[in-house]
């Protein structure tokens, strides 16, 4: 298999990388656009509405119109904000989210993504950087709601990171590798890890919901309490960047979930990328479904939940996995 890492960096390979990045970026934008569209449609149907239906056939261009509106909006930087931090915060939040995508194997061959040996770890490490962007944004906004929102966000993302990592370790033990590709290869030979790792899968689902700040853990943006949370003061394309970050993470997390528990691109008959797309869609739809059903958790019960319920569960799962692995 041709690999970026085994070749010296030449102008040609740099160009190749650049093209690959742009292609992935465009792909991501399309995915984000249509996951937002799907969110609105799906939740709309659940709520007995019809969702977007005006822009384009079946409202398919609604999100494009929204993004376009955000892009041409006046770029408002309020007077009393910390200008520099205010401006770079969305970038700090967005860049790692996009970089995290680089390890997700979309298909059998790594055409545009990297096959690095520490894939799962790389993902976790990068996603932790986004918290800085969110915190800086909330701090620099000089707004009380934004501050509370960003503090909540930081606390929450950090505490969910640990059970999330722990639930991944179970899978890693099963496969014997942190390389996401090896994990898929492991599942190809046996069953999908969702079956032996049921507990780990549940913990992963819950912790990833918390990590993504989605209902019922959407406290940082609790619009009924905090107006809009950390991006209260943002508008125009800076706001769009925060939104983009959120949905890119949704996509990335869906990819991770599919890879870890559902066998990634592996599957009979259909091409690999299609299997991947279907599996990611399942995760994304599940998130929207939960969003349409659940109220928000109470802020003072979220942290204890992460530390006192999820973490022990994940550890328990880890122990069982280790024991089973040793016995079988």
């Amino acid at each position: 298999m041709w690999n970026w890492a085994t070749h010296p960096v030449s102008w040609l390979s740099f160009l190749g990388m650049l093209i690959g990045t742009v292609v992935i970026l465009l792909l991501t934008l399309v995915v984000v656009m249509y996951s937002i569209y799907w969110q609105r449609k799906f939740i709309g149907w659940i709520q007995l509405r019809i969702g977007p239906n005006r822009v384009g056939p079946f409202g398919l261009l609604q999100t494009a119109a929204d993004v376009f509106k955000l892009l041409i909006k006046e770029d408002i930087i309020p007077n009393k904000v910390d200008r520099v931090l205010f401006m770079i915060a969305p970038i700090i939040a967005f860049v790692p989210s996009f970089m995290a995508l680089s390890v997700i194997p979309f298909s059998r061959t790594h055409v545009f993504t990297a096959n690095i040996a520490v894939g799962a770890l790389f993902y976790l490490a990068l996603s932790a950087i986004t918290i800085h962007g969110v915190m800086i944004g909330g701090w620099a906004s000089n707004n009380k709601y934004a501050l509370i929102g960003s503090m909540r966000s930081a606390a929450q993302m950090l505490s969910f990171e640990i059970p999330l990592g722990m639930s991944i370790v179970g899978v890693v033990l099963m496969a014997g590798s942190i390389n996401l590709n090896d994990i898929i290869a492991g599942q190809q030979h046996s069953v999908w890890y969702i079956i032996p790792q049921v507990l780990g899968c549940i913990v992963f689902l819950i912790a990833s919901t918390g990590e993504l700040n989605r209902t019922p853990f959407d406290l940082p943006e609790a619009e009924s309490e905090l107006v809009a949370g950390y991006h209260t003061e943002y508008s125009g394309f800076r706001f769009a960047f925060f939104m983009l970050t959120e949905y890119v993470y949704l996509f990335a997390m869906a990819g991770l979930f599919a890879t870890l528990f559902l066998g990634g691109w592996s599957g009979p008959w259909l091409p690999g990328w299609l299997w991947f797309a279907i599996k990611a869609l399942i995760y994304i739809t599940f998130q929207f479904w939960v969003q349409a059903t659940m109220p928000r958790m109470r802020v003072d019960k979220v942290m204890p939940f992460a530390w006192k319920v999820l973490l022990p569960l994940a550890l328990f799962n880890l122990v069982i996995t280790a024991v089973l692995k040793a016995v079988l």
Binding site: P216, S224, M294, R296
Partner: protein, 373 residues
Amino acid sequence: MSLSDGKTQLRTEEMILNVGPQHPSTHGVFRLVVKLDGETVVEAEPVIGYLHRGTEKIAEDLQYTQIIPYTDRLDYLAAMLNNYALCHTVEEAMEMEIPEHAEYLRVIIMEMQRIASHMLFIGAYLLDLGAMSPFLYVFISRERIVELFNEISGARLTYNFMRIGGLRFDAPNGWLQKVRDLVPQLRADLKLCQDLITGNEIFLNRVRGLGVYTTEQALAYGMSGINLRSTGFKWDLRKTKPYSIYDKFDFEIPVGQNGDCFDRYYLHMQEMEQSVRIIEQALDDIPDGPFIGKVPKFVRVPAGEYYTGIEGAKGELGFYIVSDGKDKPYRMKIRKPSFVNLQMLPELLKGQNMANVIAILGAIDIVLGEVDA
């Protein structure tokens, strides 16, 4: 200055946060000035009056019939009940006879209105707590009631339908049958809400044991309605001081046990079920007859002071009229349940965190049109 030496601690400051007047969860233009220590409320002060229209003063210059459209705009989610409260006070003062048919129709309409109002509470409360779907579901159910009101009165929100001595119109042909058909539908809608919300662990976790107060406290603050009943005190004017024809119906007054937000939510649910029962009974017994009694051309309340309260959707809704015998009140005072119930808020909020502020405020169920009048 070091952090560790214990005596000289890092200086922290309390933060003053203005929740409202433009805030998604204050149910209108209501402002809450909270002093926060971290996310914990040290002090909260409600600021009201953004929607003040001087209804009581305006009423002094209007004939009694002309006041009715103004009462629509008090608790605009339960306009029929407000209409009735005013008409009832005037009728009591003038010792009027109301035809049976009109009374039954009024009761049916009022109970439907109570359901519509409680439905909206459920939806708005869950929206405050972050769940979106229940809001839309209850709006669909409420729409069924509002459509029927539209048919009978010609309006969807501000009905202006009750008249002194009866009603403005009789029910159109087939309307009562439509209500009869609505009853099973309402039951199904209530079941959907029960299934979706009542058992949800996240919801229970969020509202159980929140905003607790005792019966004594509630009485000291003059609370009424569900806010009072949630503490276990059985006080519903429909039973304790029966007005209209409520003594003819068989229904229960559900009471809570703990006086927390969950009890307040759950009482709304149970009361709706009781209201459905009342509607059913009233539909079975409704006699034929005129829809308005004998009313003099000019409604003149004899000189004196009169007060009657009814069980509104939010609590005791009363009109106090001082009359000097003219066709306009000399002074009118409205006992607005939302306004009275709101008074306990600062005490309840002390020591809570921001998320609970919204949950407690939502459970008190205020309508700003009524608070500010």
